[in-house]
Amino acid sequence: MALLCCRLLRLAEPVSGASRLLCPPLIRPDSCPPVQALRNLRTATWWDEHLSQENVDFLKQQVPEEYNRLTASKINPLKDEPWPRHEWEPGSRRVGLVGVKLGMMPVWTKDGERHVVTMLQVQDCHVIQYISKEEYKSKTAALVVGAKNVSPFYRTEKQMEMFRAAGVPPKQKLSVFKVTDNAIIKPGTPLYAAHFRPGQYVDVTAKTIGKGFQGVMKRYGFGGQPASHGQTKTHRRPGASGPGGDPAKVFKGKKMPGQMGNIYRTTFGLKVWRVNTKYNILYVHGSVPGHRNCLVKVRDTNLPTHCEKNQQPPFPTYFADGDEELPEDLYDEDMFRFGDESISVV
């Protein structure tokens, strides 16, 4: 490097302010800079930038073990200071679940009708926080439920504090469920698919598949214009935007091109056909908003026509340490099971 010629400078360096007389006035003493710069405490680094390969492997192996330890001890959350369990009454609302949409498959009823069902798996669902109705400023209390464990390296300190307070690993999605006071559950309790039973009706909320900025034909099903016969540069446009001279304006809410999808939508009144307790999968009727592997919020339906089918559910939730032993699969009575006999001779 060509430093030899320009580096031969004489520099006297005072270490403290006491010997200011010796140093030339241009050079500032280093121990007390005149402008105290504020140190920026935010760093642009990722979690394993300064770690050796062994450390990274160790952490990758240790984090799941720690999660298992956290969840294993919570199989019996009621061993210490159990919260009282109440009985179901008409008019009480219980908590829901957050699940992962796996895909769809057909089911047949005993009459031979074919329907399609969506499979929703409940992965690592825990109650995170209880919000009393005064804090939530509403008529009912609320419970925050989280689903699907994720890496702690991409969660902020505040989020980690909340999960640590509940004693659960950090979750990907948090949902708030309004519950009545007789259905509150202690934070840290795991929730399972057996919370819902076949024959019940649920509402499923999720973010729809995002289509981006879409035109009016895809977004609202407008007819557009013909492809030929003299149309000049007008094939998929909205056409007229309103009545004309009398209002002399375009009404608010006019359907126009814009963002389509990636918003929360709810599908109401879906029947639960089957519940698999080994893998925690719910088979709900029909389709559900969202893409495969997205997280969906499942709760007991609000529709009045299905209220009588949701009577006497596991209340406040299904506890794994309880006395009832459930078989691996629970089927709705109308559903055809392929292992059954087709004909029986009496």
């Binding site: 030899l4 400078l9 520099l11 403290s16 300064h50």
Partner: protein, 313 residues
């Protein structure tokens, strides 16, 4: 322990009228600071004419560069200032002719200079110096944290390797605090004090003095005087190195890094009781720190902190 003539209150040995009068911590700090500054000025005034020395750099990218510096005045930091700002801010320790050398100690003869930082292949010199500096910072925080009526005596900190998980600082507190157990809030307030010092980015200024002067500086503490004598006996030149950070003067077991600003994450993790000695109840304060170039994610930091709370050394 002996009683005063009226027989009212038992006094400790250091409070007898024969020893120096009891000063408050702030006055003692100011006194030692003044003596240090005067000695520094006196040593600077000994250099009447500036002689030149040739310093050969062994910095990657500037291998073999020759710098003409001032004898007895230029420090390795001055040499780094001839390179880039990164060299100035990231150099923690210097290697002069293969020997570790503090960044703020003046160079005395023609030599070869290498600048050490934390991201080298072989950082063991820097690691040891960093751990020692963090322990010294912890000692400074503890010295100034207690109220005036409680005395604090810092003892020689044990040399712990970085792999043990925490650096420690041994101290003996006032006998009135024997039953005090530090709470989480107390440890957090000590951490805040340490972060204040780190924010100020104070340099650790070394000064080589004769043992007699060092004994004079620590005239109010017999333990420190004994420590000075031990260090003078084991050093090759017979001189004792004193360090000053801000206005806190102390003697250290080895080299320290350049500035407090090199630490970024710093936590005081625990204070353990080790047992009674003739000076009083011996306590070990432990902490954990990482430098600016090796910061850890908050999850990783928590795991390391969990280990630093256990007794070390």
């Amino acid at each position: 322990v002996s009683t005063d003539p009226q027989g009212a209150v038992p006094l400790r040995a250091s409070e007898l009228p024969a020893a120096a009068t009891r000063l408050s911590t702030a006055e003692l700090r100011g006194l030692r600071n003044d003596l240090f500054s005067k000695e520094q000025a006196r040593q600077r005034a000994l250099i009447t004419r500036t002689e030149k020395i040739e310093v050969t750099l062994e910095v990657p990218g500037h291998q073999g560069t020759l710098l003409i510096m001032n004898k007895g005045l230029s420090t390795p930091r001055c040499c780094a200032r001839h390179l880039t700002e990164w060299h100035v801010n990231s150099s923690a320790l210097a290697l002069v002719d293969g020997e570790p050398w503090p960044m703020h100690r003046p160079l005395t003869q023609n030599c070869s200079l290498a600048l050490l930082h934390f991201k080298m292949e072989d950082p063991h010199h820097v690691n040891k110096a960093y751990w020692r500096s963090c322990a010294a910072l912890l000692g400074q925080v503890l010295q100034n944290a207690f109220k005036e009526e409680f005395s604090v005596e810092l003892l020689t900190s044990p040399e712990v390797p970085v792999t043990s998980g925490a650096f420690c600082c041994d101290l003996v507190l006032d006998s009135q605090l024997d039953s005090w157990v530090p709470s989480e809030e107390a440890l957090r307030s000590l951490t805040r004090d340490a972060h204040q010092l780190i924010q100020q980015n104070l340099p650790w200024e070394p000064l080589q003095v004769s043992p007699s002067f060092a004994i004079k500086i620590f005239s109010h503490s017999s333990y420190k005087q004994k420590e000075v004598e031990e260090r003078a006996a084991e050093s090759a030149s017979g001189l004792v190195t004193l360090y000053r950070c801000g206005d806190h003067v102390f003697v250290s077991g080895g080299h320290l890094v350049a500035r407090t600003g090199l630490c970024s994450q710093y936590d005081v993790t625990a204070i353990h009781n080790l047992g009674q000695t003739e000076l009083g109840l011996l306590r070990r304060a432990q902490g954990l720190s990482l430098p600016v170039q090796l910061e850890a994610h908050h999850t990783v930091w928590r795991k390391l902190r969990g280990r630093a709370e256990r007794l070390v050394g």
